[in-house]
Each structure stands twice: as C-alpha cells, then as structure tokens.
Amino acid sequence: MPKPLHDNICDETLFTSLFEKHAKNLHNFLHYKFGEQLNPKDKVQEAFIKLWQNCGKIPSNKAKSFLFTTANNLMLNEAAHQKVVLKHQQIKPKHYTNESPDFVMEEQEYLQKIEKAIANLTEAQRTAFLLNRVEGKRFKEIAELLDISVKAVEKRIYGALKKLREDIKEL
C-alpha cells in the first residue's frame, strides 16, 4: 500500500481540496439514501467539522470513508428507520405548451407511482440506482464512493430497475 503523502489533514488547503472533492458526492449520497427531510446539508457540514477536529488522527486516504461513515451515523442517530420518501419536484409549467391536459395529468400520475416505487426500494438499491440514473455516475465511480465492489453495484442497480418496473406495472 502506498504511503499517503500526508499523514494527517490539519492543513487548510488540503482540507479545502478534500471538501471540494467530496462534499457534493456526500450530500447527494445522503439525499438519495435518507431523503431531504433529514437535512443532508447540515450533516455534510457536521461531518466535515468532525473531520477537522480529528484531523491529526486521519490520513488523507482515509478521509473519504471517515466522512461517509460519520455522516451516515449522524443521519441514523437522528431518525432511526424512518420511511424515506423522495418527493419529486413539481414539473415546471412551461411558457409554451402544445401538450394536452390529459398528457400532463398522465405524466403527474406516472411520477406519483414512481415516487411510491422508489420508497419501496431498499436503501442500498435506491442510493446506487439514483446516483447512477440522476447523477449519471458509472458503476465504477459508485463502487468507489460506497466502498463496495463493481459487481455489487451492478447487482443493486439492476435489482432496483427490475423492482421499479414490477411495482409500476402493479400500481
């Protein structure tokens, strides 16, 4: 294992670069896993503050997993096993439209179905699937982010897709 360049991260420029690298991913991860109502932004901030307070003990190559673990635990502390519902954003009314009102209605209903179906996925499936579909991340990137194998990511995402389609058909 290569020796990390810095054996700790008590350095503001290093800390800043870590923040820029991980903050957004961490935020999205928390959002897809736990939903918006638990305020992932605050948890990201808290996790980074904790990272700074413990900066002497954490080598830079361990910072990512420290951040993800800490933020995940903060979330779990706050709301044990709350059902996660990701609210879809309202479709923005377009200024021009030649879509019929029927079509708009159907669209809305479809989205509501998906919303329920997503809530029924497991945490692991939902997180991986949304990072892949919404954020456009490839399997390998997700695997690195979650510290799991590419194979596992593949399984989770494909499983999520299958389950979503089944649920939507049923509803």
């Binding site: 903050a23 959002h31 990701l86 479809y110 490839r138």
Partner: protein, 299 residues
C-alpha cells in the same frame, strides 16, 4: 447479445454504437427510457459547494480549537488523578493495623490470610496487612492465642523474644517478668537470647523473672482463658493476682501474705464472687471487697 447484458451496459453508460442500435430494438426500450428520464425529477437539490465550504471554515475558525492545549489539560488531569491515588496508596500501605483490648475485655481478630488471633485482656497486637503476603509478622504485648494457617513462616515479636511458627496453634503470654509460650498443635520455635527452642505439640516454654522453668506436658487443646477461665499450675501467687486484676478491672491490697508462694487452680471470668472464692479458699485467705479494691488477709 443478451437482453440483460444490454440493459446492464446501458445502465453503466457503456454501450457501443452497435449495441445502442440493438438496445433500441428491445421491445421495452421506450419504457426503460421513460423510467430513466423521469428519474431526473428526483434529482437532489443543487449543492453549492463553495458556499457550504465557507460555512464550514467559518464554523471551524470561530470555534476555538487548539487541540494541543486540550490534550495538555486532559493529560494533566489524568496525571493528577494518578499522583493522588499513588499518594493515598503509599500512605495506606505503610499504615499498620493495631488492635488492643482493655481491662476485662477479650476479642478475636482475623489476619489477612485467615489465620486468627484471640486476644486476652489488656493486650495489643500490631501488623501490616498490605505487606502480609511477604512478611507474616505481628507485634504482641500481652497474651494471645494463635491459630495459624499453613504457609510461609509466621513471626510473633515480643519484648522477651520472637516466636516463629510453622502452621499451628499456640498461645503466647508476655507480661511483666513473665513470658510463656504453649504449643497446642504443630511446631513452634521460640528465639530467646539468640537461641531457638523448638516446641512440639503439648510442650511449653516459660520464662519467669528471667529464669527458665520446666513444665509438664500440656494436654489441653487450647488455653483455658478462651473458655473464660484462667488456669494456673504451680504459679507464684502474684501472677494469679495480676491476671485477676486484668480480668476484672480491680486492685488487690495484700496484707501479711507471701505473694511468691505457689498456687494451683483456676478462676472463672464471669462471676467475681466465685472467682474470689476460687483463689482464696485453697490458701485459707479472707477477702473484703470495697468498690474496686479487694483486700486479702490471712486468717
């Protein structure tokens, strides 16, 4: 290429142009794309990295956190706890335990190794319980009966000599001009003026006014005073009186009497009238009791 593989590759954004054409031919292509596109509605809200960073930095800089100082104070409090507890430990470890009995009082104490000591009246025993495992030694003034657990040697220091024990039961009596050791079980060594005398069960060692006195073999299994009785065999009468004074907290006033004549007999510790009769009748003495003073007179 199989349908499943195509979908996997599509999910991984990894289709070649040929594969993409094949994927488009799938019957559920429209469904998949529709589902995938609709996911955009669940996008996480925009995360403003630079704004969040400045928030974090502001938080970090306002909360004073010189970690080293914090560590120093924690280290110092830990050190203080250690110093205080070591202080208490060393103070207590050198403290001797002292047990004594007053006039007309007896007591039994347990030593740290479950050996037991019965203390007769007006006696005192001192030992150090913290060093007991290394050094089984007690200092004795007065009279005591020991039941010693087996183990390393056990010493009883008195002003007249040291008694060394090898797991046994024995009685030590040290009074003014009087030193007696009786071994009831096992083996006892008495060091007197540099010589060690070994006592086997039933044997005794008696030193009276600096003179060694031979005694008959002891047949009892424990000293009589444990049963609240003082027994004497061919003892100078003044020793009997001295013991009486210790057991009943009284003073004797002796008139016209040779206190060195020998006495054989016993007296109880529970009833002063009976006890007085026990020590006076055999010698044809009369006694008169006023408060705490007893006057003895030859008839």
């Amino acid at each position: 290429m199989k349908r499943e593989d195509l979908i996997q590759k599509w999910l991984d954004h990894n289709l070649t142009s040929d594969e993409l054409e094949a994927f488009k031919q799938l019957e559920d292509y429209d469904d998949l794309v529709k589902l995938s596109n609709s996911m955009q509605h669940f996008k996480a809200p925009e995360y403003n990295t630079s704004e969040a960073l400045s928030n974090v930095m502001q938080h970090i800089n306002t909360s004073k956190q010189p970690p080293q100082k914090k560590w120093l104070s924690i280290a110092m409090s830990i050190a203080a706890v250690f110093i205080i507890s070591f202080g208490i430990y060393f103070f207590t470890i050198n403290q001797d335990t002292l047990v004594n009995t007053q006039l007309a009082e007896k007591t039994t104490i347990e030593l740290p190794d479950a050996s037991s000591v019965a203390l007769n009246s007006l006696s005192e025993i001192t030992f150090n319980s913290h060093k007991w495992n290394k050094n089984r030694t007690v200092d004795l003034k007065g009279e005591a009966f020991f039941k010693v657990e087996k183990g390393s040697s056990f010493n009883v220091n008195t002003v007249y000599g040291t008694v060394t024990v090898y797991g046994t039961q024995f009685n030590v009596k040290q009074r003014e001009n009087y030193f007696e050791v009786i071994c009831y079980e096992g083996l006892v060594g008495v060091t007197y003026k540099g010589n060690e005398i070994k006592l086997h069960a039933g044997e005794s060692f008696l030193l009276l006014n600096g003179k060694l006195i031979e005694k008959e073999k002891e047949l009892k299994t424990q000293p009589s005073w444990l049963n609240n009785e003082s027994y004497f065999k061919s003892m100078p009468y003044k020793e009997v009186i001295a013991e009486f004074e210790r057991q009943y907290d009284v003073n004797f006033h002796v008139i016209n009497l040779d206190s060195s004549q020998l006495f054989t007999g016993s007296f109880t510790h529970n009833n002063i009238e009976n006890a007085l009769k026990s020590i006076t009748l055999p010698l044809h003495l009369t006694y008169k009791k006023t408060d705490n003073t007893i006057t003895l007179k030859r008839e």
